[in-house]
Amino acid sequence: MTLAEQIQEIAAGYPQSRSAVLPALRLAQEQYGWLSPEALREVADALDLTPAYCQAVASFYDMFHMKPVGRHLVEVCTNISCALVGAQQVLEAFESELGVRTGETTEDGDVTLRALECAGGCGWGTVVAIDHRYREPVRPEDVPTIVSELRDD
């Protein structure tokens, strides 16, 4: 099925097709790697919306990437509970191991490192999401292993 067909199938499951814009953007992002102008246009056409509308919606949400990102996403929660148990040290360990600053992507385009607001694993901090799969608890000393596993992928 083409992306448009997939989107239209999802849209049929809602009383109003516009509700499908979030799942549609997610699908398009999975296909294009990020929400490029082309991706936004495709979603717009599939749902009879304007590309501008899709840009407005997508840019509101943290999980949608309006710029290119790495093949892998490493997200470290630095909200209260995780911060209290050393999230900053975990984050810095990732920065050091990956050779990037938080918010940036490694030069080979492999990994983007981000800080997250509360990921929902507070009692098991520090929480790290690797491509949206949670690892918890993570200590700074766990980071090299995590990174090498990621690189092997």
Binding site: Y61, Q88, R114, E117
Partner: protein, 441 residues
């Protein structure tokens, strides 16, 4: 007052993600019972139980359900929406609930649908909860294949990363495919909710409690916990500087002190308790002297705080309260939807002021200015997020005033770089590694 498994009943002994296992502990019998009752009678049980919203608003579910008009009065579809957008800092109970007892949630959805004569249920699940989404989806497929839906459709809809979408009207906007900005109320969702139709929207845990309420009966449920205002059990998420962080289902009225020290194992590494955030980052902080409080509505209100989302964050004496205030303010600045002026501008201003105080560059007047900004946000915003930012910050200042003063008098953070929150990078500051709120000169 103790641990009591109702919502999580049976989950320790069996894998309740499987339909057959769930049935083995009595699952879906409450649904059968409810479907044999008049919808009004189901609502009556909810009213009697005084089951109140477990997301943070603590509004009686039965009363909410009674606001839904009858089909004859309003010939529109009625919708059940489950708020599974758990994002309140410190809270991770809905995550565990969905991961371990998805069928209990589904059963609760179907009973609720029957109670308000709805044929459509939407579960709005936080986008980041990928594993939980997969578990719930599989459970829905199982239940659907078993013919349990009886004509009701259940749509599992993933969010995409926005705390504000946990606010009920913003959730509905997001579900309708828009930017998740809250609506002005009235009209309330019961009158005009999803697609402008009557909608009952509740937190995951609230809905997952419904089967037990029906099974026990409202009156029995109401005896548990701390009646009349705080009946039943709820999940408390314990985290921070505590030995055994985790989710604990406790009777309402359990002492906060017991949760932290008995159940939670107290403070590790020989540190002392300094402060507790008792209900998620949106509620005023309690000092160490104030933890001898029952975790129930009236006692918490008397303490000047709230039950909130049930998230108890334990803070030890390594933590600088100014840095905590800053980190919390950064959270709200990042998550503000931007629709209303006081929240959009006020949260950023608070971050700027707290940076200045933490850096030791502030004057005493700026502490008063910070409190004035909090006061000017309070009660004036379109939705509760503004208050959720202003109230806690104001409470840190008022309860730890000396610490804030010391930053100003000493011209630096008294922790000298040793605070547990030292240098924590907030998402608003990434990409620049410099505070976004301040433009370099």
């Amino acid at each position: 007052m103790t641990e009591l498994a109702l919502v999580l009943a049976g989950a320790d002994e069996r894998d309740l993600t499987r339909l057959s296992e769930y049935r083995a502990v009595g699952g879906y019998r409450a649904l059968e019972k409810a479907r044999g009752m008049d919808p009004e009678a189901v609502i009556e049980e909810l009213l009697t139980s005084n089951l109140r919203g477990r997301g943070g608003a603590f509004f009686p579910m039965g009363r909410k359900a009674s606001f839904i008009p009858k089909p004859d009065d309003v010939p529109k579809p009625r919708y059940v929406v489950v708020n599974a957008d758990e994002s309140e800092p410190g809270t991770f109970k809905d995550r565990e609930l969905m991961f371990r007892v998805p069928h209990r949630l589904i059963e609760g959805c179907l009973i609720t649908a029957h109670a308000i004569r709805s044929q459509n249920v939407f579960i709005y699940i936080r986008g980041e909860y990928l594993a939980e989404f997969e578990v719930v989806r599989a459970a829905l497929d199982e239940a659907r294949d078993e013919g349990l839906f009886a004509g009701v459709t259940v749509v599992l809809h993933r969010g995409a990363g926005a705390y504000i979408c946990g606010e009920e009207s913003a959730l509905l906007e997001s579900l309708e495919g828009k930017r998740g900005q809250p609506r002005s109320r009235p009209p309330y969702p019961a009158v005009s909710g999803l697609y402008a139709a009557p909608t009952l929207i509740n937190n995951v845990e609230t809905v997952a409690t419904v089967p037990k309420v029906i099974e026990l009966g409202g009156a029995e449920y109401a005896k548990i916990g701390a009646p009349p205002n705080s009946t039943g059990t709820r999940l408390f998420s314990l985290s921070g500087n505590v030995v055994r962080g985790g989710n604990y289902e406790l009777e309402l009225g359990t002492s906060l002190n017991d949760l932290i020290f008995e159940i939670g194992g107290g403070i590790p590494n020989g540190r002392k308790l300094k402060a507790v955030i008792p209900g998620g980052s949106s509620v005023p902080v309690l000092t160490a002297d104030e933890v001898d409080t029952p975790l129930e509505h009236d006692a918490m209100t008397e303490r000047g705080s709230m039950l909130g989302s049930g998230a108890v964050i334990v803070i030890d004496d390594r933590c600088c309260m100014v840095q905590l205030g800053l980190r919390v303010a950064q959270f709200y600045m990042h998550e503000s939807c931007g629709k209303c002026t006081p929240c959009r501008e006020g949260t950023r201003w608070m971050v700027q002021l707290l940076h200045k105080i933490e850096d030791g560059r502030a004057e005493h007047e700026e502490l008063d200015l910070l409190l004035s900004v909090c006061d000017r946000i309070l009660g004036k915003c379109l939705c509760p997020l503004g208050d959720a930012a202003a109230m806690p910050i104001a409470s840190y200042v008022s309860k730890f005033r000396d610490e804030f003063r010391a930053h100003i008098d000493e011209g630096s953070c008294p922790f000298g770089g040793e605070s547990s929150l030292e240098g924590v990078l907030a998402p608003v500051d990434q990409h620049t590694h410099a505070p976004v709120a301040e433009v370099p000169a």
